[in-house]
C-alpha cells in the first residue's frame, strides 16, 4: 500500500469519475449525479464514503447486479408520500430521484416521505439531506444495509450500520447537517487502529462470544460492531430499518445483499427513506433562517471548555473541508488512491495524477 497522499483538483476527480461511469454505460445525467454524490462526499472529508467505493459499484454495473440503464419509478404515491422502485439503478441515481420527489411533494403538502426499494448502497446519506436544505427545506435521509452491527445481548451482526442524516437550511451559514451510522464507529476507524497497531475503546466492537473487546483485529470477520450509545443506536437502527425497508418492501436485515461482497450479478435490494419538511409552508423562510442564525450564534458563543478554541455546529467541519478542497484541491488519502488505481487499471485509464 502506498502511504502517501496526492492532492488533485475537484474537477480532476470529477472528470475521472465521469469517464468511468460513462464507460460503464451510464447516461450523462446519471453519470453526473453519481459523480456529484461521491466527489461532494470526498470534499466534506468523508473519504470512506466517496470515490473510494466507486470500484465496487463498477464491479456490480459490469456484472449486472446494478443496471446502468435502469430508470427508478414511482410505483405508489399520495399527496405527501411515494414509494420508489429503484429497478437496481445506481443507489445514488435512485436516491437523488427519491429526495427530489420528496422535495416536489413537500412544496404542496408541507412535508413528504419517500420510501425506496430495489436500491443499492447510496454512499453518504448527508448528500441527500443537503439537497432538501438547498431547496429551503429540512431534509432527512436514511437507509438499511446488510448486517454489520450486533445488538445488546447478541454476538453476531444483526442489523446494518444503518445511516441517518439530516440537514437544516440557515441564513448566513451553510446548512447545519449530521450524517452518522447507527454503529459507535464506522469500520474505517477499525482499519486505522489495525494499521497503527492500537487498541480500541471497549464500546466499539464485540468478539466472537459477543463480549466487548479492545482488539481492533476482531473486525470485520471475528466480531461485530456495536451500536452507538448501546440501546440508543440499536433503537435508531430499528427505526431506520422500518422506514427504509419494512414499509417499502425492500429486503430486511440478513436479506439485504452486501454491495461489496455478495455475488455482483445479483441485486442487493437495499431500502432507503427520505423526508422533506417545507419550512416555508409553516413559517416565513426568512424568519426561520433568522432564528437558525441566532441559535448558531448562541452555540458558537457559549463558554468554551478548557483548551477548546471553538465550538462547531454539526456539519461545520465538513463545510470547512469542502471550502478548502474547492480552493486548494483535494488531498486524497493513500487508501483512496489505492482503490482508484485498481479501478483505473481495470478500466484501462491512466490519469496523470494517479500514475506516479
Amino acid at each position: 500500500m502506498n502511504q502517501t497522499t496526492t492532492t488533485i483538483s475537484v474537477a480532476e476527480l470529477e472528470q475521472f469519475c465521469l469517464t468511468v461511469l460513462r464507460q460503464c454505460g451510464l447516461n450523462e445525467t446519471d453519470a453526473r449525479i453519481t459523480t456529484d454524490v461521491l466527489v461532494t462526499t470526498d470534499t466534506f472529508g468523508v473519504f470512506t464514503h466517496g470515490v473510494k467505493a466507486l470500484r465496487y459499484y463498477v464491479r456490480r454495473l459490469r456484472a449486472g447486479g446494478l443496471r446502468a440503464a435502469a430508470v427508478p419509478q414511482v410505483v405508489m404515491e399520495g399527496p405527501a408520500w411515494a414509494v420508489v422502485d429503484g429497478q437496481s439503478a445506481m443507489g445514488m441515481v435512485t436516491s437523488v430521484f427519491a429526495m427530489n420527489t420528496a422535495i416536489h411533494k413537500a412544496r404542496t403538502a408541507g412535508l413528504a416521505y419517500v420510501g425506496v426499494r430495489n436500491s443499492c448502497h447510496f454512499a453518504a446519506a448527508g448528500y441527500y439531506a443537503n439537497l432538501a436544505a438547498k431547496a429551503d427545506m429540512i431534509g432527512m435521509a436514511m437507509a438499511n444495509d446488510c448486517p454489520g452491527m450486533t445488538v445488546p445481548g447478541a454476538r453476531k451482526p444483526v442489523l446494518g450500520t444503518n445511516p441517518i442524516a439530516f440537514a437544516i437550511p440557515t441564513g448566513k451559514e451553510h446548512p447545519v447537517f449530521l450524517d452518522i451510522a447507527s454503529s459507535a464507529v464506522a469500520g474505517g476507524k477499525l482499519r486505522v487502529a489495525q494499521a497503527q497497531g492500537k487498541s480500541i475503546p471497549s464500546n466499539w466492537l464485540v468478539d466472537t462470544e459477543g463480549m466487548p473487546t479492545t482488539d481492533p483485529f476482531a473486525y470485520p470477520h471475528a466480531g461485530a460492531l456495536l451500536p452507538f450509545a448501546g440501546h440508543k443506536g440499536y433503537g435508531f437502527a430499528v427505526l431506520i430499518e422500518t422506514l427504509s425497508a419494512l414499509m417499502t418492501g425492500a429486503a430486511v436485515m440478513a436479506q439485504v445483499g452486501s454491495w461489496m461482497e455478495t455475488d455482483p450479478t445479483q441485486p442487493t435490494s437495499h431500502g432507503a427513506a427520505f423526508l422533506a419538511f417545507n419550512i416555508g409552508a409553516i413559517m416565513p423562510i426568512a424568519t426561520f433562517k433568522q432564528r437558525m442564525d441566532k441559535m448558531i450564534a448562541d452555540i458558537h458563543q457559549a463558554p468554551k471548555a478548557k483548551n477548546a478554541e471553538r465550538i462547531y455546529l454539526p456539519g461545520e467541519m465538513e463545510w470547512e473541508n469542502r471550502r478548502k478542497a474547492l480552493s486548494q484541491g483535494l488531498e486524497l488519502p493513500a487508501d483512496v488512491l489505492d482503490s482508484l488505481r485498481i479501478l483505473a487499471d481495470d478500466m484501462g485509464l491512466k490519469p496523470a495524477w494517479l500514475m506516479n
Copy 2:
C-alpha cells in the same frame, strides 16, 4: 428520605392523580389524560418521568404558569401538518391533542407533522409515540427543554437533554418503541451514583471547566451533562430543537423556562413536535405487521452473547414492566413516594398507602 418502596395498584395511583388534578381545576377529560400519561410511564418502569413530577406541575398550575382551563388551539394547518399553540395548558394535554391531530391528518395525507409552541414539560415522549402505534401508525415525539446538556467544546449547558421517542405497531407483539434523551444519561442516574457514592463513566458529565469528570457530584450545578455518543447526541439535540422550537415559534435553548425551577407564575414556552406515518396508506397493514413480526423473531433468535439469556427489542422491557405492574401492582421507589408525600401534604390528601 424513606428508603423503602411501597407497592400499590395502578388504579390507586390513578385515583390519587385524578384527585390532585381535579383539585387543581382541570376538567375531567384533561385530568384523565394527564393521569394516563404519568401513570402509564410509571408502569413502564420509567419512574423519573411519571407521577414523581406531578408536584412540580401542580406548583405551576397553582401559580398560574400552567393554566388549568386553557385549551390548546390549532393556529395554522395544511393537509399534512399543523402548528398547535398550547396556551400554557398542561404539556400532557397539549401533547395528546397534538399527536391526535397528527394521527387524524395522517389518515388522509399518509403522514403528518404537528409542531407545538407555548407548551410545558410533556413528561415521557414514549407515551405520545405509542398513541400513533395504537392507531396502526408509526409515531415519533420529541421536545426541547431548558439547557441541561453541554456540547463538544463548551463547558456549560447549551441545549436541553431534548428527548425523542418512536413507536412502531406490530402483529403479535407490543409496539416496538424507544424513548431517550439526547444526553448520555438522564440526571436520575447521576443522583443514584451520588446516593451510592460511586464514580461515573467519563462520558456522562463535564466539570466547570468543560473537562470530563467521574465525580457524580458535579451534577447538576457544577457541571453539565454530555450528549450521547458525542457529536451524535449533539446533532440529534439540534434537530429536535429545530423541529420542536425553531419551526414552531416556541422558545429556543436558554429562552425555555425550567419547569422545576423557573418562577412558577410564568410560562416555560416549551416546544414539541409529533410525526405520524400512516402505514396503511402505503402497504396493507397486515403485511406490514407480518414483516415486523418476522424482524422481531429474527432479532430474538440471533445467536446470543456469552451470559446473555435473551435479546430484547426496544421497548420490550418496558412492556414487561407494565404487564407486571397491571397484574401485581406498582412498586413505587422511595424517591417517588417522597415526592408524592410532599404533594399529598400540600393538597391536604391522606391516601392510606402513602401514610405509613
